[in-house]
């Protein structure tokens, strides 16, 4: 079945009109319209985040986020605007082998365009929803996110700990009334 599916995508990609089959959609829209898009071929674009779970069955599972932070990570100084918007994606292992590090604290993950079949409450996976990917295009490579030490927090914290130690040393002796019960 998987091979038939891949063959279908291969055929689709061979013809210029093929991408017209895939509906380009934002993940927020996908989540809102999830039941109506079940079984449809769709394209979503966003950052791969978290982990690459190669399960040894020919598939790799990860999460694709399509939100503000894809283009403007908080580490770059953007103001926070709310939670992430992401979906689970299942990618054939051979397509995922050379991807950059997934997004996280130290990295902005690769931005990819994924085309595949939207599985809403897939009966074969007891009701899970995810995109079964047929093709993957890297739109932008991942990159390292910079950070530095915020010195005032280090100095203030160390100073307070030293002060706490000094105060602790002057604490009064307490009698048996404070013993364990």
């Amino acid at each position: 079945m998987r091979n038939v599916f891949r063959l279908l995508f291969l055929v689709m990609m061979m013809f210029p009109a093929a991408p017209a089959f895939a509906q380009e959609i934002a993940v927020s829209e996908l989540l809102a319209e999830s039941p109506n898009l079940s079984g449809e071929v769709i394209s979503i674009e966003g950052e791969l985040v978290g982990d690459y779970g190669f399960r040894g069955d020919g598939w790799m599972w990860t999460q694709l986020n399509d939100d503000t932070y894809v283009d403007f990570p908080i580490r770059d100084g953007i103001l926070p605007v709310g939670g992430n918007i992401g979906v689970g994606v299942r990618i054939p292992s051979e397509l995922a082998e050379n991807l950059d590090h997934p997004g996280g604290y130290h990295y902005r993950g690769p931005i990819v365009r994924l085309t595949g079949i939207w599985r809403h409450h897939d009966p074969a996976r007891q009701g899970e929803s995810y995109l079964e990917v047929g093709s993957l295009d890297v739109v932008e490579e991942g990159r390292v996110l910079d950070e530095g030490v915020v010195w005032w927090t280090v100095i203030a914290g160390a100073g307070l700990i030293l002060a706490a130690g000094a105060i602790w040393r002057t604490r009064p002796e307490r009698g048996g009334g404070d013993g364990r019960r």
Binding site: V49, D51, Y69, G103, G159, G177, R181
Partner: protein
């Protein structure tokens, strides 16, 4: 007449609060070390600052506390209520400095949500959060679920330990002394920690194909949130991130373990095990879980949300279990949960409102109170139907034969009614802001019962008054009101006393 507290009262409260802050400072060293190992230098600085503030305030409290401390009931309750306010305030510092929150109040909200094991969150871009900060959020849930006071009691109890213990909504002393009870609770948790993290880590590594370090990271954080029925998750898509029935299954086992009273854990460990199913609390929770599961599944089936029995049972079972244990994990997106209407909504809301067992890490009304309330109502009906002089049995079994006295009935009814009032309070404020009744009620119950499931009302753009209401609900719901009322009484006495 209210008696105005004197300087000695404040010094006594400061001493015990100081000791607890020192314990939290010690716990704060864990994410500090984590940040250093993970080379997360920005959070490293903010953790150092947090530990410094905790240690400083703790040392000041201990330094200026009375030489002969003797903690009575009211002081103990005030200490507990203050602890659950001060710790989230200071614990919010690293969260705020991370840049992942719109305002300081939002960071405080998350910290309070973590400590009270609620799980509602206003954090932006969780998927890029530093691992040490994510660890801290989950550690807050562990500290809150086990009870910070329990941690402090394990180290230095002092007189008044029992007051502190009960103030933190623990209503049974498993072993003769409070200190040994506290140690037992930590012992149970430590065993679950080792096996839970190992199991989830191995599943992550071997079945899900994560790198070993990441598998252990997920295992540890999910363990904290599951066993302490907290509901924070390492990734924004909650447990749905893992796409694994096996991972969900083990997580569900940990949620059940967390929602069990530590008295039941004791019985499971040391026997007699036969008595477990005779307990009113066990019977009640099994009945209410079965009922809410049935209602939710019928609702989902009627609206064809899931088209197969396997999908319906796996997804429905996990969500109801998460709601009833007060955990708040989800395997479906918030947008989808918000679409669950009718019976499915009703089943989930009732499951959240009822909550887990007493003296567990779960929130809500709690099963024993539900069981006793039902028993009282049934007794009343029997009394009305039977001849005037007929006697209705008032006994029930809960770790031994017990008598349902009028005083106990009154106490149970009062707390249960207070929970209902708390649920309505948040729903009312939500309605006042134009949020539909269903969403308002769901989110309010979720906050008050320390569950954390959300239909999208909890958001950085939510009104400040609603945010403050949810925080009050989380705080009062976790402490089961008594300590909160004691603090209010203490403040009133300070202002208006003579």
């Amino acid at each position: 007449m209210l008696i105005r507290p004197i300087a000695e009262d404040f010094r006594l409260i400061a001493l015990y609060l100081g000791r607890i802050l020192l314990v939290v400072a010690a716990a704060g060293m864990l994410p500090l070390v984590w940040a250093a190992i993970a080379r997360e230098w920005d959070p490293f600085g903010s953790f150092l600052l947090m530990v410094g503030i905790l240690a400083f305030l703790g040392a000041v409290g201990v330094r200026f506390g009375p030489a002969e401390p003797k903690l009575d009931w009211s002081h103990g309750m005030v200490v507990v209520a203050l602890t659950w306010l001060v710790v989230p305030i200071i614990g919010a510092i690293p969260l705020l400095l991370s840049g992942h929150f719109v305002s300081p109040l939002d960071a405080f909200f998350d910290s309070m949500s973590g400590l009270t094991t609620t799980g509602l969150s206003l954090l932006s871009d969780l998927d890029h959060l530093a691992s040490s900060l994510n660890f801290w959020r989950h550690l807050l849930q562990f500290l809150g679920g086990q009870g910070i006071i329990i941690a402090a009691l394990t180290m230095f109890a002092g007189t008044g330990g029992i007051t502190l213990y009960f103030g933190e909504a623990r209503d049974e002393r498993i072993l003769p002394s409070v200190t040994s009870t506290a140690r037992f609770i930590w012992g149970v948790s430590a065993v679950h920690l080792v096996f839970g993290v190992a199991a989830l880590g191995l599943i992550g590594w071997l079945a899900l194909g994560f790198d070993l370090d990441r598998a252990l990271f997920h295992g540890l954080l999910v363990f904290f949130a599951a066993f302490d029925t907290g509901g924070f998750s390492p990734m924004s898509t909650s447990i749905g991130y893992y796409h694994s029935a096996l991972f969900e299954g083990f997580t569900a086992l940990l949620m059940v373990a967390g929602a069990m009273s530590f008295g039941l854990h004791y019985a499971l460990w040391r026997g007699p095990r036969r008595a477990i199913f005779a307990n009113l609390e066990t019977k009640t929770i099994l009945s209410t879980f079965g009922f809410t599961l049935l209602v939710t599944l019928l609702g989902l089936a009627a609206t064809s949300v899931f088209t197969t029995a396997a999908g319906l049972s796996r997804q429905g079972l996990f969500q109801v279990l998460s709601a009833h244990t007060g955990t708040g994990f989800a395997t479906v997106p918030t947008a989808e949960l918000a679409r669950w209407g009718g019976l499915a909504f009703g089943g989930m809301a009732i499951a959240m409102a009822l909550g887990g067992m007493g003296s567990s890490t779960a929130g809500g009304v709690k099963s024993l109170r539900v069981g006793l309330t039902i028993k009282s109502v049934v007794n009343q009906i029997k009394q009305m139907l039977l001849p005037e002089h007929a006697l209705v049995g008032t006994g029930y079994y809960q770790s031994g034969e017990k008598h349902l006295s009028p005083a106990l009935t009154q106490s149970v009814m009062i707390i249960s009614l207070l929970y209902v009032a708390l649920y309505l309070l948040g729903a009312g404020v939500g309605l006042a802001y134009g949020i539909p009744l269903q969403e308002s009620l769901f989110e309010s119950v979720s906050a008050s019962a320390n569950v954390g499931l959300s239909v999208g009302v909890t958001d950085p753009t939510m009104p400040v008054l609603l945010e403050l209401t949810y925080m009050l609900q989380m705080w009062a719901g976790r402490l089961e009101f008594v300590a909160v009322f004691s603090l209010i009484g203490f403040l009133l006495a300070w202002v208006r006393g003579k």
